[in-house]
């Protein structure tokens, strides 16, 4: 056999397509699919949410309960005729105290509100506490936790199906980003509900913004687009606007005595 010296044929083993074109094509189609999925999911969840009964919500809560150790937490007692008359929820409400030092409070599906010790320490008046309780009641009333759960659950299950990789990390980051924007609107709506609750309970809205004004001095959330609570300045402004629109009045607040509220 005669040997014929030849250089390799370069056209066969790799595509001449430029990598950036590949990036645009693949990236673009994935972004398009994600956007479509996200909006379709959003609409369908909003449609379906009215069919989720309170008893089903409580079943969900039973999943979360053992993880958070809710049964071991002390209760916060605020109940009485005045309170019941201002609350309009289809299920039994529980308010618990968590030992966490983080300045936060949150609502769980099924009618549980958890308030952190860290928050109580910062609280100076009863009215502030009740505003926050009202705010969380707003979340429960609007079923915000279910909406947030629904969207991110579906998004994260998709990511879980595909398996961990840079692409799915970006996917979950983008969903989180979308979620935080969505929940900023929800937070403002919950603020409105909290204000109305305060007005119902005390017949005035004094103290609604006190806590936030104090926190404003410590606020760094300006820098974080992902923050689920909108910038404090925005929130204070919104609350003040609501007070003006609804012509609420402000009177003196009642100093806060934690022991009066914590039950054994």
């Amino acid at each position: 056999m005669k040997y014929d010296a030849r250089l390799p044929d370069e056209s066969v083993n790799y595509s001449s397509e430029h990598p950036l074109m590949e990036f645009l094509k693949v990236g673009g189609s994935i972004v398009a699919i994600l956007l479509i999925l996200y909006f379709v999911l959003g609409w369908s969840i909003d449609l379906l949410i009215r069919y989720i009964s309170p008893s089903f919500e409580q079943k969900i809560e039973h999943f979360i309960e053992p993880k958070l150790g809710l049964n071991n937490m002390k209760g916060i007692s605020v109940f009485g005729e005045k309170f019941e008359s201002c609350v309009n929820l289809p299920y039994q409400l529980h308010i618990k105290l968590s030992q966490s030092k983080e300045v936060n409070a949150y609502a769980l599906p099924g009618g549980t509100i958890v308030i952190n010790e860290g928050f109580l320490e910062q609280c100076k008046s009863e009215n502030e506490l009740f505003f926050v309780i009202g705010h969380e009641l707003g979340h429960l009333k609007h079923r915000d936790h279910l909406r947030g759960l629904g969207r991110s659950l579906i998004g994260l299950s998709l990511a879980a199906l595909v398996g961990p990789s840079e692409a799915t990390n970006i996917l979950s980051e983008s969903i989180q980003f979308g979620e935080s924007r969505f929940s900023q609107a929800q937070e403002l709506a919950a603020d409105r509900y909290g204000l109305a609750f305060l007005q119902c309970y005390y017949k005035h809205v004094g103290g609604a913004t006190d806590f936030f004004e104090r926190q404003k001095k410590n606020d760094y959330s300006k820098w974080f687009l992902f923050a689920s609570h909108p910038e404090l300045v925005e929130r204070i402004k919104h609350i003040k606007e609501q007070i003006a629109t609804n012509q609420y009045t402000k009177k003196t607040t009642i100093p806060f005595d934690p022991q009066a509220f914590i039950s054994k």
């Binding site: 040997y3 010296a5 250089l7 990036f23 994935i30 961990p164």
Partner: protein, 147 residues
């Protein structure tokens, strides 16, 4: 947010540096291939000539080439939707050609190299999410010297 920015920067660096290094490597490959084209390399079991042989030596050339961040990201996206991972094609191509060149370079005074085989294996270092992926290509054969 910061994560997205870091990710974007990594992609850009991976792309720019990766493309540059790949271009440079291909240039070197083509030059050396032109210089060594006179040395036959076949996968046949028999020598090309019927002449007497003085020497037969097993020779091999190996190379490890790593993937850049940009290529890995696109391959990850392909994981979702499927199709040709064209970004990896140049990687494998370079690996094979470089391995064969190094094999040739290790047998410079041979007349031909027969029974050439190529083996590829992937080398991964790091945890599940943070793998540093590289590919090792090893080309080996029998270098023959005629009288």
């Amino acid at each position: 947010m910061y994560n997205l920015i870091i990710f974007g920067v990594l992609l850009l660096v991976g792309y720019v540096v990766g493309q540059y290094l790949e271009g440079r490597h291909y240039k070197s490959i083509r030059e050396r291939e032109a210089n060594l084209v006179h040395l036959p390399v076949t996968d046949l079991k028999r020598p090309l000539r019927q002449d007497d042989l003085i020497e037969g030596v097993c020779v091999g050339g190996s190379v490890v080439i790593s993937v850049d961040y940009f290529k890995r990201f696109i391959a990850g996206l392909r994981n979702l939707i499927g199709g040709n991972v064209t970004t990896y094609e140049t990687l494998i191509d370079r690996g094979r050609r470089e391995a064969i060149l190094r094999m040739k370079e290790s047998a410079m005074d041979a007349d031909e190299i027969i029974n050439v085989r190529i083996e590829t294996s992937s080398i991964s270092k790091g945890s599940k999410n943070n793998r540093i992926g590289s590919v090792e290509v090893y080309a080996y054969g029998t270098a023959l010297k005629y009288k």
